[in-house]
């Protein structure tokens, strides 16, 4: 009898591709049933979202789960929270499970804040006596005392998420599953959430924490598991797991240098795809790295799948620090541009003046939309190296990792007015 609280053994989950696209109809089923004996092999594309995953978690442990999109993290949590069943394998849980997979599902827009606290609380598995006991605490945590008699459809999205998270945060299961919920609310509220979770952890609760937010993982978790392609590729110390994860991301970006075209780790409809990325200086010459303070042009070549002109094309980019903190986003929307007609193959160029980041390595995510449908999304489409470029023109340097931003400005001395 050890104090193992979660035991996952050979867990696999298979999805049939296309099975969830569009609904089955009786006719299809009938046609298939008739056809089945005659077709030798029914070709169906199958995807293993999880393949032979095994690990154990001890009571009171805070385990981080990292991996790229589609690596199987969310499927794992869905199985652990019994929303979906595994195809094979076994999980043993010794305690009540609470999951924060997506806060706010179960809120009904027509009901008041108070009614929703009770409804959502019960959905998450709390007793109503338990909710009554914690009600004031929940409301105070969400900072919504004055709005509890208002239907939540009148809430702002921030208020809505705060209330939902607050209810969920007051759940007291032995095992807590958390998936990316910290992306809720403003920075102050996020800090409050982390604190709340740390409290839960220090009370001996076991927490499984899925996130892309590397700083949150490293500061919060005692151990981490790295998922790659549906299986565990590393389990152990957080630092090592994060290094391996970033290393894998790095390799993906290196592949990106060969051309974005070949990258498989992308999502979106594929109607329009990014085919190449490179950087140019202000004059249009290719560059390999950016000098702080210089003008830089980020060029994205794209092509439409059907070779016809693309319509209503939008490009957004997110630049993050190597460790994962987002630094800025930019794109057509922010620049107030829209491309109603775009040639079948072309290039979208983002021109950034006086590049305001200090020397470091950054990641670039790119997101292409065509006719309001996500067409292509590439995490870590490229890595951007910034080198010192005398931003201030004074020769004074901001050293690597000293502060994340450089600002355009001047200082003057004036007499008393």
């Amino acid at each position: 009898m050890s104090d193992t609280i979660i035991k996952v053994d050979g867990l696999s989950k298979k999805y049939r591709l296309g099975a969830t696209h569009g609904y089955k109809t009786f006719r299809e089923s009938l046609v298939n049933a008739v056809k089945a004996p005659f077709s030798k092999s029914r070709e169906r594309e199958e995807v293993w979202a999880l393949k032979d995953v095994s690990f154990e978690v001890k009571r009171g442990e805070v385990l981080g789960i990292i991996g790229r999109n589609g690596a199987g993290k969310s499927t794992l949590l869905k199985i652990l929270s019994r929303i979906t069943e595994p195809t094979s394998g076994r999980v043993e849980l010794r305690g009540r499970v609470g999951s924060l997979l997506e806060v706010g599902t179960g809120f009904h827009p027509e009901l008041t804040g108070k009614e929703n606290v009770y409804l959502y609380g019960t959905i998450l598995g709390m007793r109503s006596s338990e909710i009554s006991r914690k009600y004031d605490e929940i409301v105070a945590f969400a900072e919504l005392e004055r709005f509890m008699e208002t239907p939540v459809k009148r809430y702002s999205s921030g208020m809505y998420m705060r209330l939902a998270f607050s209810v969920a945060a007051h759940l007291e299961p032995e095992i807590l599953l958390v998936d990316e919920v910290l992306a809720v609310g403003d920075a102050i509220f996020q800090r409050k959430c982390i604190k709340k979770m740390q409290e839960a952890a220090s009370c001996g609760r076991t927490i499984l924490f899925v996130s892309h937010n590397i700083p949150a993982i490293t500061s919060f978790c005692g151990r981490a598991i790295l998922f790659e392609g549906g299986s565990v590729s590393y389990a152990g110390g957080v630092e090592e797991a994060v290094d391996k994860y970033l290393g894998a991301a790095n390799a993906a970006a290196d592949r990106g240098r060969i051309g974005l075209k070949e990258r498989q780790d992308r999502s979106g409809s594929g109607a329009v795809r990014l085919t190449d990325f490179y950087m140019l200086d202000g004059a249009g010459n290719r560059i390999g790295e950016i000098r702080s303070g210089s003008t830089v042009q980020l060029a994205f070549e794209y092509g439409s799948a059907d070779g016809r002109p693309a319509r209503n094309v939008e490009l957004q980019i997110v630049v993050s620090r190597y460790s994962g903190d987002r630094v800025f986003q930019f794109g057509t929307r922010f620049a107030g541009r829209s491309f109603a007609e775009a040639p079948a193959r072309g290039r979208i160029v983002c021109r950034l003046k006086r590049f305001p980041l200090p020397p470091e390595r950054y990641r670039l995510d790119a997101y292409l939309v065509s006719e309001a449908v996500p067409a292509d999304y590439l995490q870590n489409a490229a890595f951007i190296d910034v080198v010192d470029g005398d931003f201030y023109g004074s020769g004074y340097q901001v050293f690597e990792k000293e502060t994340p931003f450089l600002v355009d400005g001047d200082v003057s001395l004036e007499g008393a007015p």
Partner: protein
């Protein structure tokens, strides 16, 4: 507390216990459905009366006055209303239950709980409307001078049977609806056919005596007939028809629940 998750599922009694464990969630879903039903409508709860009442008026005009459908010696309006009252509840509950799984898809893909709670709550939440609408029946009985019948308390178990019938059919249809959206389009049609094959507009006495048993195979037929006999009196209760219908209802309920249970495991992936 120990939970084991595997791909194999056997039905055990502990699952019934877990259903009981989640009863509070069930009652909250019922309350939610009731609270939300008439939000932002001008007439609010009056809709619970308006629907069966005006159906009664229209049926009385066309079937009672013009087509002269017999009504077992009771004034046609009160006769037809006594049938429409349980029928309106039944058809509403069945429709709500059938749509309930798809309507709560966001819950089903995000949170675990025994899924059977969802259609069950949809069926139960219609009972309040049923109660409200039954006040009209009381009013009509006063107006037409129909005295209280000693069999009246039977209305309670009969309502229970109606609930079971709606739940049983609701389990079947809601589970099928998850996978085959064809169900959505067949429901109004099924309900219409079911109405005409049930003694709502007409008395079951127009069916020849030797075919009465066949009529009772329609589970709602025996219930509706008994409901009328219990409320309006004037007629002996047909225990045989009620027995047959009850048997069919039990079969429908158990088979529906088992089918639902079998499909439940894949709901989150398919819905």
């Amino acid at each position: 507390m120990r939970i084991v998750i595997t791909s194999k599922h056997k039905f055990t009694l502990s699952e019934l216990a877990s259903l009981w464990h989640y009863r509070e969630l069930g009652s909250f879903l019922v309350k939610r459905d009731i609270k939300v039903r008439y939000k932002q409508t001008a007439l609010g709860g009056l809709w619970a009366i308006i629907q069966p009442f005006f159906t009664m008026v229209v049926f009385s005009l066309f079937f009672g006055k013009m087509a002269k459908v017999p009504s077992d010696g009771v004034p046609y309006p009160v006769f037809v209303y006594a049938g429409l009252l349980p029928w309106t509840y039944f058809s509403g509950a069945l429709t709500a239950a059938s749509e309930s799984m798809v309507g709560n898809a966001n819950l089903i893909t995000k949170v675990y709980f025994p899924r059977a709670i969802v259609p069950a709550a949809a069926v139960l939440s219609g009972l309040l409307d049923f109660l409200v609408a039954s006040t009209v029946l009381a009013g009509m009985m006063l107006y037409f001078h129909i005295g209280l019948n000693p069999l009246l308390p039977l209305v309670i178990p009969l309502t229970g049977l109606t609930v079971l019938c709606a739940a049983g059919a609701g389990f079947w249809l809601s589970a099928l609806n998850v996978e085959y959206r064809d169900i959505r389009y067949t429901i109004p049609f099924v309900i219409q056919l079911w109405l005409f094959s049930s003694p709502v507009i007409y008395p079951s006495s127009i069916v020849p005596a030797r075919y009465q048993w066949a009529l009772a195979l329609n589970p709602m037929a025996g219930v509706l007939k008994a409901f009328r006999a219990a409320v309006l009196g004037g007629q002996a209760l047909d225990w045989r028809a009620l027995g047959i219908s009850s048997g069919v209802i039990l079969l429908l309920f158990v088979s529906g629940f088992l089918y639902f249970r079998r499909m439940e495991r894949t709901f989150a992936d398919v819905i």
